[in-house]
Structures are given as C-alpha cells and as structure tokens.
C-alpha cells in the first residue's frame, strides 16, 4: 500500500516538474486573440481572410492589429497569418464573423465547418453580412477614434439592436443548425459602414446557404413577431397612411410593440398549395403621436387601433410576399408542415411549394397605455 502511495507521489512530482503543463499549453503573452474575422471572395476565387487582434503593448500606439491573407481554407489562412503576426494567432475568442454580401450571396455552405469541427473555436460568434468589403470595413474601423475597439463596438451595437429586435440573434451554432434542418432558413445580421461608423441595417435573409435578400430593421421587428420570438421594437406610421385627408403638417404615430402571441395553423390538401393562417396578438404602447385622437375616449382609441391593425396586416403580408419571392423561410413554415403534415411534406418539394403558399394573417393590437398625455 505504501509502495503505491510513494509511486503515485513520485509520478505526480515527475509530471509537475518535467511536463509543467502539456503539449497544448498556450501562454497568454505569446498568443494573439482574433476577435473579428472578415471573409470575402477575391477576384481569383480564393477567400480573403482578414482579422483583427487587440494589441496589448505600452510602446505601441495602435490598439488593434489588422492582418489579412488569401487561401482556400480558413485554417490555412490562420497559419499563414501566424507567419507574419509574430504571435500564435488563436481563434478561440472570435466574436464576429463578417461575410461580404457577395460571398454570402454565392453561399456560405461549409465555410463555418472549422468553427463547428474544432471545439477550441467558439460556437457563439455572431454571423454578420456586410454591405461591402469586410477588409475595407476593418481597415476603416481604425479611424473610428470616438468608438471603442472594433470587437467591443460591434458587440455593443449588435447587442442593443437585438434587444430592440432590429437584427436577429444569429450565431454559428443556430445558423448551422438551421442550415442542416433544411426546413428553416437562417438569417444573419446585416450591416453597412462608412467613415463615421457601422450601422445595423436589419437582417440578411438566406435561401438555404445563400443570401437571397435583406430587410430593414423595422421589418426585422415584424419578422421576429412572425417567428414567435420576443419582440420590442418601434413601429412608425406616417400621418398620411392613417388618414389621407390629414393636414400636411401632421407627422404620424410611433408605437412600441413589446409583446406578441403567435399561432400558426396550416391546412394541406393533395395537389394544392398549403394554406397557412397566422394569428398575431400584439401589445404595444403609444410612444409619440401627432394626430387628432383623444386616446382617453374608448371609441377614438379603438378607431386608431383598427387603423394600426390594418397597416400592420398590410406590412406583414408584404413581408411574407417578399419572403416567398426570394424563397427564404426564416419563420419555419416548412418545419411546421414537416412536423404536423408529414405525409404532405414528403409528397412535395417544399422549396417549390413555398412560393405558392396562400397566407392569411389575422392581426390584433392592444394599446395598453399611451404615456402621460392623452
């Protein structure tokens, strides 16, 4: 018994003294942490791989290092970058993967493979599509003197946009899950940039693994409601849309929609396109209004609610029509049909049937209150 104890103790000492860690040891001072990764196609079909790394050195003025290279494989690019950065570049803390719109339209396909395959890579990095070149964006971001470091800046604007349902929660894992599902199309954050900063534009919509279109942040809010997700977004109506006869100096109404209850029913008959009925029960608050309504009068309030309902229904129908046109199904109507009308689903090709689906939407809005003024 004593022998085992002594042997065990000796072995532990040997391990601690001679191995002092392991073959996979990474010393913080020697590694470079990639935070933002930009991907786009070059003219010769290779992938231009750009990344930012924070610089932690007192004698260097720059706070961020930008490195780029081209190759066919992401791992190859990382290894090439290691040869120029002077640091062992690691992707374990990548927060954002920014695709150029052009690359996203050609198809993301298996680009994310390395992030799923290697568990040292994060599953939680945001998937973003930029209108333009990620390389240009990362380079320009060096001039954003009044903004925090790019990775933090992007994380902040995306987090706030998500809280306001202005852009979807799209990370590597849910993007990949949806790609594999084949019944729900993924969505991603859609951004633009200029020399003053980065702007959240809304959502990039995908048809399979290819970007097929995009919607603005207001429509992204509506899309969140259709997807049955938590919402909190502003819905803005011009005065002319409420009443044509209104005087030109009237501006309109702003409603904060913050609760949505969704119900979807589908009916499928052989040989015909499915009919999908959506019921949406929305709750909101009047944030700002420049119209002649006395909201403390039940009739006036009801009248305004009906008009908002009508406009919301119109916008939802337009959004559904657009989704059908581009063949993108982020709501997962295909998944609902597969789950609840499986025989029908197996008998058709969903992508062919989807543009022909007849949608009917029933919207109800309840204005809970209207602030401190009538």
């Amino acid at each position: 018994m004593k022998k085992v104890k002594i042997l065990s103790l000796c072995f532990l000492c040997f391990v601690h003294l001679l191995i002092s860690g392991c073959w996979d040891q990474k010393i913080f001072e020697e590694i470079g942490l990639a935070l933002v990764l930009g991907l786009e196609h070059t003219e010769n079909g290779e992938i231009l791989y750009t990344m930012t790394m924070p610089v932690f050195a007192e004698d260097i003025e720059e706070t961020m290092e930008i490195l780029s290279t081209t190759s066919d494989l992401l791992r190859q690019s990382r290894d090439q970058i290691r040869n120029t950065s002077g640091k062992r570049v690691e992707g374990g803390k990548i927060q954002h993967i920014v695709f150029s719109k052009e690359l996203a339209e050609k198809g993301i396909d298996k680009t994310l493979d390395v992030f799923v395959r290697s568990s040292e890579n994060p599953f939680l990095a945001n998937i973003i599509v930029v209108d333009g070149s990620p390389f240009e964006m990362l380079k320009m971001s060096k001039d954003y003197k009044d903004k925090p470091r790019l990775g933090v800046y992007m994380a902040n604007i995306i987090r706030h946009a998500r809280a306001n349902a202005a852009t979807p929660e799209s990370r590597i894992y849910n993007f990949t899950i949806l790609q594999y599902s084949e019944t729900i199309d993924p969505v991603a954050s859609y951004i633009s940039f200029d020399d003053t900063g980065i702007t959240i534009e809304g959502s990039a919509l995908f048809n399979g693994n290819k970007m097929a279109g995009n919607i603005d942040f207001e429509k992204t809010g509506l899309l969140h409601a259709l997807m049955g997700e938590k919402i909190q977004f502003g819905y803005y109506i011009k005065a002319k849309d409420i009443e044509e006869s209104v005087s030109s100096d009237k501006r309109g109404v702003s409603i904060l929609l913050y609760r949505a209850k969704r119900k979807i029913e589908a009916s499928c008959a052989d040989g015909t396109a499915p009919e999908i009925h959506i019921s949406l029960d929305l709750t909101g608050i009047i944030d700002e209004i420049d119209l002649d309504y006395r909201l403390d009068e039940p009739d006036d309030k009801k009248n305004l609610e009906e008009k908002i309902t009508m406009l919301l229904r119109r916008d939802f129908m337009n959004l559904l029509k657009y989704l059908q046109e581009i063949g993108s199904d982020p709501v997962g109507f295909g998944e609902i049909i597969r789950a609840k009308h499986n025989e029908y689903f197996k008998s058709v090709s969903w992508k062919t049937v989807y543009p022909k689906v007849k949608f009917d939407i029933d919207v109800k809005i309840n204005i809970e209150f209207y602030g401190a003024l009538y």
Binding site: M1, K3, V4, S8, F11, L12, V15, I19, C22, W23, D24, K93, Q95, S119, E120, P122, F123, L124, R171, Y173, N174, T176, I177, Y180, S181, E182, G332, E335, I336, R338, A339, K340, N342
Partner: protein
C-alpha cells in the same frame, strides 16, 4: 481482498450503476440513435430503459435467491471449479476490456475537446491516476467518491434549463416517424448506454443490506432511463435530426451553445464537471475487473499484480488507432455486455433452481 474495504450499501450500488451507465453513454447516445431512427431516439431510449429495468429486476430477484453470493462464487458452484473459473476469467476479460475501451474513449474525448497534441499515454496516466489510487483502496472508496458526481448531473440539468430557448419541440415531431421495426432494431444501440446494470452481480456479495438491492437497482436503471431520455430529447430538439448524425461528441457540443455575460463560453467548465462522471463510469469497470481478478486469484492484493493490471489496462486502451476504432471497440464491448448479462442470468437461474431443489430435498 479485505471485506471491510469493499462493503457497500444498496444505495451506493445504485449510484454506482447509475453513474457507470450515464457517464459515457449520454455523450454519444443521441448521435448514435439519430443515425438509426432520426428524431425518435428518445422513444428508443425509453423502450430500452423499460427492457433494462426488467432485466435489472430479474437480476435482482435471482441474486436475492443466491444467499448473498456474487456471480463469481455462483459460477464455481454451478459449473464446478474448472468451468466456473473459466467463466470467471471470461468475465474478468470482459470487465477489463470494457474498462480499457472506456479509458480509450475518454482520452479521445479529451483530445477532441482540450488536448489535441498531448500524447495519449501521458493523458491516460494522468487522468487515470486517481482511479488507480481509489481502486487500490477498494469498492467502498470508489463508491463513496461517486457522491461528487451528483453535482455534475445537477450542473447538466441546470444547463439544459438555461438553453430552453434553443429547444425546438417540432424537431421531435412527428412522433414515431421512424416506424416500429427501426425502433426495435435501435434497441441494441440504446442498450450500450445501459451497460453497467450487470455489475451488481459481480459486487452482490459486498452489499451489506442486500435485501434492498433489488429495489435500488431498479431505481438506478429508472433514473438512468430518465437522464438518457432528457439528454437525447434535448440534443435532438436543439440540433435536429440532420445535424446530430454528423457530430462525434454531441453532449459536449450542447455545452457550447450558451452565452454567458463576461465569461462568454462556459463549455470548458461544464465539460470539466462532466469528466467527473466519465472517470467514475470507467472507474466502476476498473474496480470490477480488479475485484474479479482478486476473486479468481484468491490472493491478497499485491502491488506487483496491480502494476501489471494497470499496464494491461493502458495497453488495451491504446489498441484502437483512431476514433472509429475506439467506437468499434465500444461496439464489441456492447455486444459482449449483452452476452455476459445473459450468462449471468443463466448462471443465477441454474443456481436458483439448484438451491430450490436442495431445499426441497432437505425438506423431503
């Protein structure tokens, strides 16, 4: 072996069985089932769970009639000294290979998740050292240590609650789409996860309150079924039936999807917690094989033999050259486990009949 060092209660044996079954089984089970029955894996798990509870109950009932003896003593009684010892050696080989296969797959999991470049031999030695230490001190020590793994299960269950937003119930629908025949066929795959229910027969002689063993053994298998069902259903409802089959360490991938403020990813912490359960699962078989060896040899534990035993275990664990071969070895262990369980039942049944006959003869 010293009886005191091996004495355990029925409750400890139940925990032993539960951890042994769920430690490794739950990591790969969702993927293995998705390959066979798509999103209906959880149905297969429940069906196999019911079967394993029935087998566990049968084992428990037959053991109750064995006058407190374990399977290694019963085999000698039933088949005679030579054939009985031959069967016991077979049981020892099965337990040793199972422990080695578990150790091998443990190292594979470590390489996939943390240590890609660290040599296997170093990892095997370092991560199995606590097991070797505890096994030397006997069944009681290894059984007591299993209490710590309960925290790992709590962590996993809390984590599952935290990712509720990512669970899509429609990914589990339509229920039963795979059909009855594929579901029945998948029972052999699910049964791999329930391997470990036979260990009670090996350790039965050491259970101090063996009148409660049957009840606790059934509970252990019931809780294993519950845990497997939760894990399989959640993994399927999160990843979907098409993404699951391409994964090699499903449960660990599940740990990668939750984002925590400041820390961001917490997968490494939860995987580290789960390593408790995995190592305890392997340790159960190391303990069982070492216990069997001592029973067969009928000698006091010897340091020299223990070193040879450890060397043998590590050598066998290193036979698979890649992850596919490691899974193949697990498959072999799975089928052997089924065969061994059948052998246990036959031996116990013959023993029970003989005992009954003997009693009748004595009565007559």
């Amino acid at each position: 072996m010293d009886g005191g060092a091996n004495a355990i209660t029925s409750k400890q044996m139940a925990l032993y069985t539960f951890v042994c079954q769920t430690g490794i089984g739950s990591i790969v089970l969702p993927t293995a089932l998705a390959k066979e029955v798509g999103h209906d894996g959880w149905i297969s798990v429940i069906a196999t769970g019911v079967l394993s509870i029935a087998i566990a109950a049968l084992l428990g009932m037959l053991l109750k009639k064995s006058s407190g003896k374990g399977i290694l003593d019963i085999n000698k009684e039933v088949y005679g000294k030579v054939i009985g010892t031959a069967f016991n050696i077979l049981i020892f080989i099965y337990l040793l290979v199972t422990a080695s296969a578990g150790a091998g797959i443990f190292v594979v999991f470590l390489r996939i998740s943390f240590f890609r470049l660290t040599p296997q031999l170093i990892m095997s030695l370092i991560f199995m050292l606590p097991s070797f230490y505890m096994v030397w001190y006997g069944l009681k020590t290894t059984a007591r240590f299993k209490i710590f793994t309960l925290f790992s299960y709590v962590v996993v269950l809390v984590y599952i609650i935290l990712i509720y937003k990512d669970i899509r119930p429609t990914f589990l629908m339509p229920v039963g789409e795979a059909g009855i025949v594929p579901l029945l066929y998948s029972i052999k795959t699910s049964y791999f996860a329930y391997i470990g229910l036979e260990l009670i027969a090996v350790f039965y002689a050491e259970i101090t309150d063996n009148e409660k063993a049957l009840r606790w053994h059934v509970f252990a298998n019931f809780f294993s079924m519950l845990f497997f069902t939760i894990v399989t259903a959640v993994c399927t409802a999160v990843f979907g039936e098409k993404f699951l089959p391409v994964q090699s360490i499903t449960l660990f991938n599940l740990f990668r999807i939750y984002n925590v403020d400041v820390l961001e990813r917490i997968d490494l912490f939860i995987i580290a917690f789960w390593f408790f359960a995995i190592s305890c699962s392997i340790r159960a078989y190391i303990m069982a094989s070492w216990y069997s060896l001592n029973k067969i040899c009928k000698k006091k534990k010897s340091t020299f033999i223990y070193m040879i035993f450890i060397a043998l275990l590590i050598v066998i664990s290193r036979i698979p050259g890649d992850i596919n071969e490691s899974y193949l070895l697990l498959d072999i262990v799975n089928y052997s486990g089924m065969g061994i369980t059948v052998l246990f039942i036959i031996s116990l049944f013959i023993s029970a009949v003989k005992t009954k006959g003997g009693k009748r003869y004595e009565k007559g």
